[in-house]
């Protein structure tokens, strides 16, 4: 399946994206999202901060990249390195 990592927000709020093909089962993808997915963000005092979203099986979920399990680290590090701006 195809997954897409997006970075949003920041001082200049231009989205960055990167995608890759993975061979995860649906169950595996669900487990991963359960562990790295963020619930709706409450109001924070952060300003100009950036955040990440993972698009997987048509669903776009806010994620915490600091929680990526070791097994998936290389995939996400590769995606982060490949992030490209989406022109406005």
């Amino acid at each position: 399946m195809k997954i897409k990592l997006q970075r949003v927000g920041g001082f200049v709020p231009v989205m960055k994206e990167a995608e890759t093909e993975v061979d995860w089962t649906n169950d595996e993808a669900k487990k991963l999202l359960d562990s790295i997915g963020l619930k709706e963000k409450n109001a924070t005092k952060s300003r100009d901060a950036t955040g990440h979203f993972l698009e997987i099986r048509g669903e776009v979920v806010p994620v915490d990249l600091k929680k990526i399990p070791l097994k998936y680290k290389a995939i996400f590090e590769g995606l982060e390195a490949d992030l490209k701006f989406v022109k406005t």
Partner: protein, 346 residues
């Protein structure tokens, strides 16, 4: 106290200027005692009131060494004490942080972000090739940029001033970071950020290019935002495209109030109120912080009338009101502010 003083007198510790008549008298209370003193006697006994101590800036710089856990930052500069030799980024944030503190104190009488002397904490070299800077509610964080599209986010004093001003807003109106109040929050940071740069570089309203982040975004013809001409900071940039900021309210962009929608376009629609400030300051002439800055500061710190949910119209009315209060109804300054908002079509 008079009893005590007279007791002391018996021990001949009172100044000789207190003559025997006073020494031998008895008074009902301190007031009647002091009331009997002449100026010379009073000046000997009453110490002059000490002038309030001038507040001093407190600032620290932490090196993240590409880490992202802020508690891992290493202190490299502490209130003038160099702990690790100063690299360019340390020098940048020390210079811009000082300029920010100076503007707020010397022009507006404000003692740091919270007006209570809060320590300014800068965290540099955050993450690897991180192309952003942010305020986390307590401190400023700067990335080095990817080196290709973006340089270090410490390279422009207006960005450092921008992030610090988010702190000022947090302690004042605490403008909600959504839609119009969020765009005002962003705009105030740009307004004070540009004045910090202009004052540091001694630029008046004509000399300034009114660009935010002109060094951070690489390429001589690019900047991150233009207050003079929102929407033109970068045009047809090979990676970013074209600056989406509108200059006028009729072009307000109603984006989704989500993180992906920039919370309703807080960094987009701030162009409108940035433009209003630019026109007002330009029409007043001179240095922006002298008049326009004072009007904006007076409005942004009016806790009674400027609240977390205030919108463009509220801020327009408040700045016009402040201009009239500070410079008079019908003054050139009040007209400049009114014209600024009219040009921005608010």
């Amino acid at each position: 106290m008079s009893e005590k003083l007279l007791d002391e007198a018996s021990k001949t510790k009172l100044p000789i200027i207190l003559n025997n008549e006073l020494r031998n008298s008895r008074f009902r209370n301190d007031r009647s005692f002091f009331g009997n003193l002449n100026e010379a006697q009073r000046s000997v006994l009453m110490k002059p009131v000490k002038a309030a101590k001038k507040p001093a800036m407190k600032m620290q710089v932490y090196d993240m060494e590409n880490d992202t856990v802020l508690s891992n930052g290493k202190l490299v500069w502490d209130n003038g004490k160099v702990i690790k030799s100063m690299d360019k980024d340390t020098k940048n944030v020390v210079s811009a942080g000082t300029a920010t503190w100076d503007l707020y104190y010397q022009i507006f009488g404000r003692n740091s972000i919270d007006n209570l002397g809060l320590v300014l904490k800068h965290y540099i070299h955050y993450d690897t090739k991180y192309d952003n800077a942010f305020w986390d509610g307590r401190r400023m964080v700067y990335g080095d940029g990817d080196g290709r599209i973006f340089g270090s986010f410490t390279a422009d004093p207006d960005i450092v001033g921008h992030e610090l001003t988010h702190g000022v807003t947090q302690y004042e109106s605490n403008l909600i970071y959504h839609n119009q109040s969020g765009a005002l929050n962003e705009s105030l940071s740009d307004v004070f950020g540009i004045m910090i740069k202009q004052r540091l570089l001694k630029q008046d309203v004509k000399k300034s290019k009114w660009l935010i982040g002109e060094n951070v975004l690489k390429g001589a013809k690019y900047a991150l935002r233009s207050m003079k001409a929102p929407g033109t900071a970068y045009v047809d940039h090979p990676d970013l495209g074209t600056d989406p900021q509108p200059a006028t309210f009729d072009k307000y962009m109603a984006l989704a109030d989500t993180e992906r929608g920039d919370w309703g376009g807080v960094h987009i629609n701030s162009g409108i109120t940035n433009f209003a400030f630019y026109v007002a300051a330009f029409n007043m002439g001179g240095f922006a912080w002298e008049k326009a800055g004072k009007i904006w500061y007076s409005a942004m710190t009016d806790k009674e009338n400027f609240q977390s949910t205030s919108n463009f119209e509220d801020f327009k009315n408040l700045t016009i009101q402040k201009a009239e209060l500070l410079y008079g109804s019908g003054s050139l300054e009040a007209k400049a502010v009114t014209d600024g908002w009219a040009e921005a079509k608010v």
